[in-house]
Symmetry: C2
Amino acid sequence: MSTLRSWFSIPRDSHFSLANIPFGIISTAASPTPRVAVAIGDHAVDLDAFTANNGFQALSIIQPHQTVFSQPSLNAFAALGRPMHTVVRKYIQSVFSADTPYPDVLKNNASLQAQVLVPLEHVTSHLPFKIGDYTDFYAGLHHAYNCGVMFRGSSGAIQPNYKYLPVGYHGRASSIVVSGTPIRRPNGQVLLDPSAEKKIPTFSPCRMLDMELELGAFICKANTQGEPVAIGEAPDSLFGVVLMNDWSARDVQAWEYVPLGPFNSKNFGTTISPWVVLADALEPFKTQGLENDTEILPYLQEKDNKSVYDIQLQVDLKTQSGNTATITKTSARHLLWSFPQMIAHHTITGCNLQSGDLLGSGTISGSTTAQSEMGSLLEQSAGGKKTVKIAGGEERRFLEDGDEVTISGVCGGDEGMLVGFGTCVGKIEPALTLSF
Amino acid sequence: MSTLRSWFSIPRDSHFSLANIPFGIISTAASPTPRVAVAIGDHAVDLDAFTANNGFQALSIIQPHQTVFSQPSLNAFAALGRPMHTVVRKYIQSVFSADTPYPDVLKNNASLQAQVLVPLEHVTSHLPFKIGDYTDFYAGLHHAYNCGVMFRGSSGAIQPNYKYLPVGYHGRASSIVVSGTPIRRPNGQVLLDPSAEKKIPTFSPCRMLDMELELGAFICKANTQGEPVAIGEAPDSLFGVVLMNDWSARDVQAWEYVPLGPFNSKNFGTTISPWVVLADALEPFKTQGLENDTEILPYLQEKDNKSVYDIQLQVDLKTQSGNTATITKTSARHLLWSFPQMIAHHTITGCNLQSGDLLGSGTISGSTTAQSEMGSLLEQSAGGKKTVKIAGGEERRFLEDGDEVTISGVCGGDEGMLVGFGTCVGKIEPALTLSF
Ligand SMILES: [Ca+2]
Ligand SMILES: [Ca+2]
Ligand SMILES: [Mg+2]
Ligand SMILES: [Mg+2]
Ligand code: NI
C-alpha cells in the first residue's frame, strides 16, 4: 500500500491513521445519544451526522442501510457483512484522502466538517457492541504453559487436549465494560492456606487481583443453530478486533475452578478498548502463529497459515502514587490458535454465533522465561513469589488499590500509516466493605 | 389457601389452575407478533389483547406500564419487580374467580372472551425471555456425587469447594431454545480410548448424548455492577421458574473440560419449558433442601431454610419406534443450594445480573443409588456400563436419533389446584454429515 495522505491533519504518530478507520460508539455533551463513529487522527467522525447530511452520497450501496449509523451499538452495521464493511471503510478513506474524488463531500465543505469532526477529547466512548455472548479462549500457549506449571508442575502443564482444540469457556457478557470504567476489587471465597489438609475458605477482598493481556474479536455474521461455520468461511464472521483486559481474581479462581472452570474469579469485569479495528485493516499484519506440532483435525486446518496478527502489545502500570512501569511488551502473534480456528471450533457442535458476540484470545505471553514478555502478573510474579519493579522503588506481586493498568497495541512501524487500537484502561477501586 | 373456583372451565388435572397463572410469550396464526400471555387451563390469555380492551381497568397501578404486555419477551414485565408481578397475578386470579368482583371485565363479556382466550393447541410458544446471560449451577449433590465417582472415584467425588459455594459455570445463552425445538446431535472431538497413553481425539458425531433434568430460574431485578445482592434481598431478584434440559455431549465433555470446564459439550442447545411459573405461585411449595453439613459463610446463610421447591419431576423417553418409558421420577428438593444462594454467590464479586438472565439449578437426582431417581443417563447407565429399559424390549445407555425426551413437573396434589410447568420437550435429530 502506498502512503495514504489526507487533506485533514492527522498526527504522524496517531494509531488512527487513514490506513486504519476503526469503528466505535460515541456521544458528546451537545449530542448525548450514542451513535456510530470512526476515529481518524485526533478526531471522531460522527457517522450519524455524516449520514444525515448526505455524506454517503457517492456510495449508493449503503444508502438503504444508513439507519445502522444511528444505532447505539455496532451490531446492525456489523451484521451487514464484511463486503459492506470493506466498501464503507474504503469510501471513508477516499473521502479523507488528499486527492479525494469527492471533494465536495467533506474536504471543501467546512460546515459539514464542523458538524461531524469531533475532537476525541470531547467524545465519550461507549461499549461498541451489545454483547450477546462472550467466550474466552486460552490460545496463548506460553501463558497456558506458565500457569500449568504453577498449578500442575511442568510435566502436566499442558493438558493432552490443548494442542488438539482451542480450549475456551463461556464468560460473563453483562460485566464487560469500556476502557476507562473503574474496576472494583471483588470480595469472595479464598483459601488462605491452600496446602492445609482441611480446606476451609475465608471471606475476603481478593488478595491476588490480576490483569490478563488479550485481544477480543467481535463476530459480525450469525450462523444458524445446528450449522457449523467451515474454517474456510470463518474469516467472513470476523468483524474486527479490540484490546481486552480479562481481570482475574487468582485466589478466588484457585479455590472455585474445579471441576467446572473459572466463574466468580472472572465475572466481575472485563475491559475492552472502544475502537474496533476492522479485520480488513489488520490484513497487512497477518502472520504465522505459534507452531502446532500435533496433527490437528481437518475442521481446524487453515489453508493460509498466516492467520494471527503481529500487533505490538504493551502493558503499563501506574500506581496510586503516580509511579509507572511498562510491565509487558510482546506481540499478538504468540497464539497457538487463530480467531478463525476458534470460530470453527466454537460452532462445530452447531452452536450459533450472533453479530456482537465477543471472543477473547486468551492471555498473550511472549515467552515462558522472560518476565517482561508475560501477559499477567500471575506469571510475572511466579504465583506471587517474585516481584515486578515499578519506578520509585515500588514493586508489585498483584494489583493494589489505585493501580491503573493500560494496555496499548499498534501494528506497523511507518509513521503516518499506523494501525493501532488506542488504549484499554482500568483503575482498581478498593473492595466494598459488606455488612452481610 | 381455599380452593380457587373459576367461572371459566379449567380441567381439574390442569397444570395451569387458578392457583398458578404462569407467564409466557405466544403468537397465533391470526396474530403472528409475539406477545405476553398467561396460561389458564387449556387456554392462553392474550394479555396484549386484554390490555388493548381495557382489561386492566380495575388495576390502576399497572396502567402506566401496560406496553410491557405488547413486548416479544417478558424482560420488561419482569423488570417491573416482584410487587408488580404479585398484584398482576392476583388481579388475573380475581378476574377469573367464580365470585369475581369484576364480572364486567371478562366473565360477562363474551366478545372479549372470544378475543383473548386462545386454546393452547392454537398457540405457538416462544422463548419467554431475551436471555442476556445464562449460568448453570451444579447444586444437585447426588448428581455431583454420582458424576464425581465416575470421573475421580468415590473418595474424591465431591470436591473440597462443593459444600462451601454453589459451583457453577457461565453457559451459552444464544443456543437456549423453547420446548419443542428439535436438537441436532453435535459433531465434535471425542477420545475413543480414554485409557490409551497417547491421547489422540477422533472427529465424530457425539456417541454419548445425554439429557440433564434441571430447573431454570429467571432473574427480574438488575443489580449495579460492583454491588452484590445480599442473601436476604435475593428472593426479590427471582422472577420465576421453568423446567430445563441441559443437553450434554458426555464424550466431548470428558475430552475438553480440563482445565476450564465444559464448553462445546454444552453449547449446542439447552431447552426450557415455555410457561414461567412465578416465584409467588411456588411459595406454598417451598421446603428444605439437602442438608449441608459444613459451616457456610454468612453471605450464603439464609434466614428461612425452606428455600427450595418440592416440585414433582418426571422424565419420559419415547423412541423413534414409539416405545416409551418413564425414566426418572424425583423432586426438585434434592438441591444443596437454593436460587437465592446462587444469586448471592453469583453477585458477591459485584457481577451484575439483568432482567432475563437465566440460572440453571444443576442436574437434579433424587438418589445416589436408585437408577429411576437419577436426572441424567450418564448416571442411570453408570457411564454407559448399564442399560435403561424402555418398553418393547428397547434399552438405552445414551440418547439415540429420534429419541424424544419430555420433562414434566408439578407442585401439589389437589386436583383443581395444581401449580405445574407443563412440559419441556426435545427430539434428537441425526448429526450433520460435514464436508469439511
Ligand atoms: Ca482470559
Ligand atoms: Ca447442567
Ligand atoms: Mg473477565
Ligand atoms: Mg446446554
Ligand atoms: Ni450472554
